[in-house]
């Protein structure tokens, strides 16, 4: 049987991330009989606020207050967890940019298996845990079996486990600050540079015409712009378009870009990776145009057109213009 179960809680300005409630849900699905302990690190009043918030979700909360942890530096937190946790611990983290920074190295230092970006649970038989992951931007899924006899670090995809509406764990906070140990690091936080504000604010738009890799060439962006103009929308995009420098970063929808909440979202040539969909909130009506009928975007879209956007969109735009 695996060791004690922990969830590492990320937080910002005194408020826990949404994943905090998702991790306890996931842990409960994986290990229904085992209590889950939240680990919350930071400093001062913000930390106390988060610990207090977590009492609704977790039976026990380990609080570690330390100046060196005021900013969540993954290297310092890894050292802390290695000092603090039992060697055979099972640790749940969110698979976000912090989890990607922390978890792989933590698994090495705890000498336990690392199970990244888990989207679902598939069974536990003794020390063999079976989970579901996705590959190729969600085009295919896989069952993965892991030997957790020596512990595990399990990263859960944000949004994959629907949390309960509210928690009523009635947990207690245990101050473990004295057990932090040496937290010296080779990477020192300097500052956060805020994202640049662009010429349009896509987060405030009701209708977005969003383009992805299927647009193929910078010159074709105008196809999307013409459609957007015809329907009174604004052009946004997925990550590859910003990487190619065809549109500004401020136009990018996704976890590493903007979080938008339009009423209608037209996804043109966008495959629909979870990082992209993670930036799409408020349950919009999604229209997907993609030449690949197996593109994951069709699983979440309301209406789909299986066609090359370069052929289809000009036809659509012309008809809308004629109708006006």
């Amino acid at each position: 049987m695996a060791g004690q179960i922990f969830a590492y809680i990320t937080h910002k300005v005194g408020k826990a991330d949404d994943t905090a409630a998702e991790l306890v849900k996931a842990a409960g699905k994986f290990f229904p009989d085992a209590p889950v302990t939240a680990v919350v690190t930071g400093s001062g009043a913000d930390l106390d606020a988060v610990c207090n918030e977590m009492t609704a979700w977790y039976r026990e909360i380990w609080k570690i207050d330390n100046e060196a942890l005021a900013y969540p530096n993954a290297e310092a937190i890894r050292k802390l967890l290695v000092n603090l946790l039992p060697q055979d611990a099972v640790v749940f983290c969110g698979h976000d940019t912090f989890g990607m920074d922390l978890a792989p190295g933590l698994s090495i230092k705890l000498d336990s298996v690392f199970v990244p970006d888990v989207v679902d649970f598939d069974g536990l038989d003794g020390d063999t845990l079976k989970v579901i992951r996705q590959e190729y931007s969600g085009q295919v899924s896989t069952h993965v079996s892991c030997d957790i006899s020596a512990g595990a670090v399990i990263n859960i995809r944000p949004g994959a486990f629907q949390p309960d509406e509210s928690g009523s764990a009635g947990g207690q906070v245990v101050d473990k600050s004295a057990e932090a140990g040496d937290l010296a690091v080779g990477r020192r936080f300097l500052e956060i540079v805020q994202a640049e504000v662009g010429d349009v604010d896509i987060t405030k738009e009701d209708v977005l015409v969003s383009v992805g890799r299927g647009i193929e060439d910078q010159d074709n962006i105008e196809i999307a712009e013409e459609l957007a103009e015809a329907i009174g929308a604004v052009v946004s995009c997925s990550r590859p378009i910003v990487d190619a420098k065809w549109l500004e970063k401020s136009r990018q929808v996704g976890t590493s870009g903007q979080t938008v909440k339009p009423k209608v979202y037209l996804a043109l040539g966008i495959s629909g990776s979870f990082q992209h969909l993670g930036g799409l909130k408020g349950n919009p009506f999604i229209v997907a145009v993609n030449k690949n009928p197996k593109a994951p975007i069709f699983q979440v879209a309301d209406v789909g057109v299986v066609d090359d956007l370069l052929d289809f969109v000009p036809v659509l735009t012309e008809k809308i213009q004629e109708g006006k």
């Binding site: 993954a74 976000d96 940019t97 990607m100 920074d101 922390l102 792989p104 190295g105 698994s107 090495i108 230092k109 690392f114 990244p116 992951r133 590959e135 190729y136 931007s137 085009q139 295919v140 896989t142 069952h143 993965v144 079996s145 892991c146 030997d147 080779g186 990477r187 300097l190 956060i192 540079v193 805020q194 994202a195 209708v207 015809a230 329907i231 929308a233 990550r239 910003v242 990487d243 420098k245 976890t255 590493s256 870009g257 903007q258 979080t259 009423k263 209608v264 037209l266 009506f285 229209v287 009928p293 069709f298 309301d302 209406v303 789909g304 057109v305 299986v306 289809f312 659509l316 809308i320």
Partner: protein, 263 residues
């Protein structure tokens, strides 16, 4: 600065639709177009730019079969100075930790100031860089989208975090960084570039060259194992509009009007 860049040969998802093979044991690989993992290509470009600025050399390394050599050679055509291929039947079936163990052994045969990987791969999980750093006991930063060399002891790096914000840190050398796409504009590699390095010797190192034991590598050393591939049954999905482009466009216009998508 001596820089090692870890690269991987993967099916190119921009060129392929990935489908599950009949029995679910693998994906359909018959007609797949392979290329260097996109993130890794940005890492190689970044390494070349750093060396252009401060001097040193770039070595590209890959774990794989003889086909992976093509990828190493392609990155050398971009401007990397050296290539190394880690290849051995014993490496097959290694999990992320196994791959990191192999790379660690190779790193220790050299003298590198900086090690770069891609932040993730389409068929992977973004784990090898962080594992390698922990094994080497050097600092690590993931999803790096900016690097500035401060001096021969440290770098200033930016990490791409949620919301398009950037987290700036100072990091001691030697270190491992995993590179995010968009950090630079990888140069184009033409046929001439490939020809220039066509006959360059790329050393191949196996298990005995690296001195790695079987306990951490290959299928027997893997504590995480992929059992199969499948396509999940996911609700109803989209209502697919059928007909000619004209008919589909007419239907879509009606739907958009009803949903407030046309102002």
């Amino acid at each position: 600065m001596e820089i090692l860049v870890c690269v991987k040969r993967v099916p190119d998802t921009a060129e392929n639709e990935i489908e599950v093979a009949g029995d679910g044991s693998d994906i359909e690989r018959d007609d797949l177009v392979y290329s260097v993992n996109e993130w890794d290509n940005y890492a190689v470009e970044e390494a070349i730019q750093i060396v252009d600025n401060v001097g040193g050399s770039v070595t590209v390394i890959s774990v794989g079969d003889e086909d992976a050599e093509e990828v190493v050679r392609r990155e050398m055509a971009m401007g990397a100075n050296n290539g190394i291929l880690l290849s051995d039947d014993a490496f097959e079936g290694s999990d992320g930790k196994g791959i990191a163990s192999l790379l660690k052994a190779a790193v220790e045969k050299g003298n590198y100031d900086l090690i770069l990987t891609g932040a993730q791969a389409d068929d992977g999980a973004g784990q090898v860089g962080g594992m390698l750093a922990a094994m080497l006991d050097v600092p690590f930063a993931s999803v790096v989208n900016a690097i500035e060399v401060l001096d021969d002891k440290k770098l200033k790096v930016g990490r791409e975090i949620e919301g398009g914000n950037q987290e700036m840190s100072e990091i001691d050398l030697p270190c491992v960084l995993s590179i995010q796409t968009g950090i630079n504009e990888p140069r184009y590699v033409g046929i001439r570039g490939i020809r220039k390095v066509a006959s360059v010797d790329i050393p191949v190192w196996g298990a005995s060259d690296l001195g790695v034991g079987a306990e951490s590598i290959g299928e027997s050393g893997a504590r995480a194992k992929r059992l199969d591939y499948f396509v999940p049954e996911l609700g109803e999905g989209a209502e697919i509009l059928e007909g000619s482009s004209d008919e589909v466009a007419d239907k879509l216009i009606e739907i958009l009007k009803a949903k407030g998508g046309i102002k």
